[in-house]
Symmetry: C2
Subunit: 562 residues, 2 copies
């Protein structure tokens, strides 16, 4: 008789896990209750004083978790991030997690949280996936307060001579709402504002989110907010937040959001969950402030970057890591047999059956990402994140493929076993950290022209043969360099599904061209976004949104949240 194993859902596992008071978790990393601003019993922000105190301490080692190009089969990068930190702690090391906070848009839309899974989750997962400590709401508010102030400036006489056709600052909501992508505002006559085209992005795509994640402290945040370009005037010169004189108000709205949030994993490992920029339109990493704080509080910080190594990790290493003290010492590249089989040509429906041929073919995707990490001079370990459907034979084949290519590899079973399932990976990393010193360098010098920086990323990271520009993009590059923005790093906006800018090209495509459609200045964040293909900055809801299953029970507990 076949008995199907009963697999618990992530929320069931989370709700059955006993949390410790957050003050007790903080004690483990040398923080007193006075260092915390409590949000209930299980969440806290680190106070401004604490952050200042920490800045003089020595830094621990940062380990960056990235992955192959994501597929609908799932990779479990957040799950590995959490499980790896738990494993370090099981080995007697002082480790912490530093990861991004989720956006409500996907939460209400598509089944699937952003707080890890199984026995490798951060808690309280319901709170973190819903309003958490209000950081995203503060960003939404600051974003839209700025938009209202811009439209009010137009309405009240337009002293700055803003060209209403060239306002680049969009409104934002932390929701999936396709009907707000393209709108016309200010209708209804002269007392209802100046009519113009506008649109909403999802909050995680707001430049303010990127600014918050790259700021080193509150004053630096204010400086960056002041530099944000909101429009061009009738002389085609950029107009900034500082020109409007409201960077102080925006900073005031963000003064709490800029403090990192302390929570715990199921195994009580301390975790800072803070900031959550998109890894396509923005740089896709948790905040510099949180990563830096974690590195002062623990000897090992496990952090992640969004999507595959071609997006999140490239940006971590070329953008975020230009902030002092944020260099990683080693990288983990997460792959699953299922996802590699999809890269090898299988459809999602075919993943249940063993197929070592597809696996071998899909391995090329993993290999490309390894080469990318090597080009940054960083040691790494491949983590094969085990799924219940993987056959022993497939695991053997993949392990063999890695060994042949000289890639250190470890099997992880963190979903099912928590930290225990990450011991092999943790041990391999400790070995590597002892043996190999990282020889980290960014892929390009900031002094290079924008086009050369883009070409470097496209060729070295994506494997493209060349880069082409639309007429618009060509003109923008010229303009941007004339405004003095040529010295900024580039933030590539590209589909996460492929190494190319065509989401249907899985595996390791070759001989392809990257087309730069448009550029976008994120001067406050400190980078130039280069948009390829049709990158979406406001997702839509599916036919049956996750919201349909959500509820509260009689005791007020969350129901149906994944």
């Amino acid at each position: 008789m076949n008995v199907k194993p009963i697999v618990k859902s992530d929320i069931e596992i989370a709700q059955a896990s006993a949390m410790k008071p957050i003050a007790e978790i903080a004690e483990k990393i040398g923080l007193l209750e006075d260092d915390l601003e409590l949000f209930g019993k299980y969440k806290a922000k680190l106070s401004a004083d604490t952050l200042k105190k920490l800045s003089t301490k020595e830094s621990g080692k940062i380990i960056l978790v990235t992955s192959i190009n994501p597929t609908p089969a799932g990779e479990g990068k957040s799950t590995v991030t959490v499980g790896l930190a738990d494993a370090f702690n099981r080995l007697g090391k002082k480790a912490m997690v530093a990861m991004r906070e989720p956006s409500l848009g996907p939460t209400m839309g598509i089944k699937g949280g952003a707080t890890g899974g199984g026995y490798s989750q951060v808690l309280p997962m319901e709170d973190i996936n819903l309003h958490f400590t209000g950081d995203l709401h503060a960003i939404t508010t600051a974003n839209n307060a700025l938009a209202a102030l811009i439209d009010n400036h137009l309405q009240q006489g337009n002293l700055l001579n803003i060209d209403q056709r060239r306002i680049v600052w969009k409104r934002a909501l932390d929701l999936n709402d396709r009907a707000l992508r393209k709108i016309v505002i200010g209708l209804g006559g002269p007392v209802q504002g100046v009519p113009r085209e506008d649109g909403f992005d999802i909050t995680v795509a707001s430049e303010i989110m990127a600014v918050l994640c790259l700021a080193s402290d509150l004053q630096n945040l204010k400086e960056r907010l002041g530099k944000m370009v909101i429009a061009y005037n009738y002389d085609k010169q950029p107009v900034t937040v500082a020109d409007l004189g409201v960077e102080g108000a925006l900073t005031l709205l963000l003064k709490e959001a800029v403090k990192p949030n302390l929570v715990q994993t199921i195994e009580h490992t301390p975790a800072l969950v803070h900031g959550g920029p998109f890894a396509n339109i923005a740089h896709g990493c948790n905040s510099v402030i949180a990563t830096a704080a974690a590195s002062k509080l623990a000897d090992y910080v496990v952090t992640e970057a969004g999507f595959g190594a071609d997006l999140g990790a490239e940006k971590f290493l070329n953008i975020k890591a230009r902030t002092e003290g944020i260099d990683p010492e080693a990288v983990v590249i997460v792959a699953t047999i299922r996802a590699l089989k999809m890269h090898g040509g299988l459809s999602k429906a075919e993943l249940g059956k063993e197929d070592t041929e597809a696996l071998t073919k899909g391995f090329a995707n993993l290999k490309k990402h390894i080469e990318t990490i090597e080009s940054f001079g960083l040691p790494y370990v491949v983590a094969i994140n085990r799924f219940i459907s993987d056959s022993e034979n497939e695991i053997e084949v993949l392990t063999e493929l890695c060994s042949e290519a000289g890639m250190p590899v470890a099997l992880t079973e963190v979903w099912e076993k928590g930290g225990q399932g990450g011991i092999e990976l943790a041990e391999k990393l400790l070995g590597i950290l002892d043996e190999k010193a990282a020889n980290f360098s960014h892929l390009y010098d900031l002094s290079l022209p924008l086009e050369e920086k883009i070409l470097t990323v496209a060729q070295t990271v994506y494997g493209a043969s060349k880069v082409e520009y639309s007429t618009k993009a060509k003109k923008q590059i010229k303009d941007f360099e004339s405004f003095g923005w040529g010295v900024l790093p580039v933030c590539m906006a590209k589909t996460q599904y492929s190494l190319s800018d065509d989401p249907s090209k899985l595996g390791r495509p070759s001989d392809f061209t990257i087309t730069i459609r448009e550029l976008k200045p994120s001067i406050g964040a400190g980078f130039i976004v280069a948009l390829t293909g049709d990158v979406m900055t406001m997702p839509g809801l599916p036919k049956a949104p996750a919201a349909m299953n959500m509820d509260v029970d009689e005791d007020g507990n969350a129901v149906g949240l994944f």
Copy 2:
């Protein structure tokens, strides 16, 4: 030599006041740390368990603070609310404040907070005036998640047959943003949604805010959310949130926001600050849950209702007080010499000079509001809220006018002196509460037709001679009664500046007609909104918004917040 007294700003006074840990404040009213969900050291929410426990306890006395029709001269109703509770505590009584939480729209727009003033404030005023515990953000999110789900329903096949021209659910932001009043959404082609007219209200005007403030508990909240009308279908029948099946998701988004927030006054009186619906489009009172909880925790609860007695108090008494246990025992009517002089015909510039004639003329406005409170069968005291510019002569004249009319009156100096300045008012109230039993009754029976309920309010409360209806409103009344909504109370939407629906008619106008332009069903909140004149549900920003002066200092403290 004349020395000008240095008057400190509200934020300076607030920041110079030492707060006690909120757990210590809670102890005073018999709550343990376990009853609280802390938000930092000085704010907390009451837990769901605590609210349940409280429901069986005996209730204290509720005192409702209202005022004359507001003028640009200011009345200080929140200031008196806070100072009165402080005065009760100084007299050895166990008293609490239950008031509304501020909206960020006015905070960023017009100088002037909503947390009291001078030495009668609730603290921490910066937090309360900014994001506080995130209640308004949760309401904004729930409001817009619903809107996104409606548009997604249209996009995905429109099974409910919703007429896109008859969607009544609007989007919301907690900001003043006139350019979003009338917009067109869903532009850009078939994958960007269904094009239609739409608009944003300020969050405090969202029906969800009213629902949160009238719900008796979480399950009642869910029931009310399900009843909200979002649109009409092609058969012109109402479509509700329950039809869409997302009341569970909305409740989940609001499960924390529904818990009242505990803070303290400068004099450490416990205060519940929770919910903040508009007093024009909605009922303008803090939450039923908070008012009820306060009445279980203290012997005297001082609470306020928005704008003048014609709006906030009328709705408190005809709508909110239909919830069991929320009847007030006495009313305070706040008036200032300055405001009465404006009602007597002076402009704001003329208020500095003594003018007992204008004062005597403006007294008629106060008298009308007294008659209104009497018509509800409630005892009251008039509070003359002293301003620095009031002359002794003027105070004498006003006191005399009140005495002649048989109105109990007390001078308050709560801005300058805190609770000490409210002792006379507190003592008079205690005397009245001992002597006179309230003989409270609502102004109308729910079984009356909608038009008769509207007429009752217009004649008894406003002093109107008659009510006229637009053709649209007449048709709506017929439709609404056919949907079974005729048994609901009416929520009048009217200018706050006049007893009539014309904001320029100050004092006590007579022989005027109230014109009902349109009705709006708020079936979840449980009332029918009757719109008169041009009531605004999304304010605009002024020429020099308050945001221009806001900032943070080097230590991260708020600057320029009033």
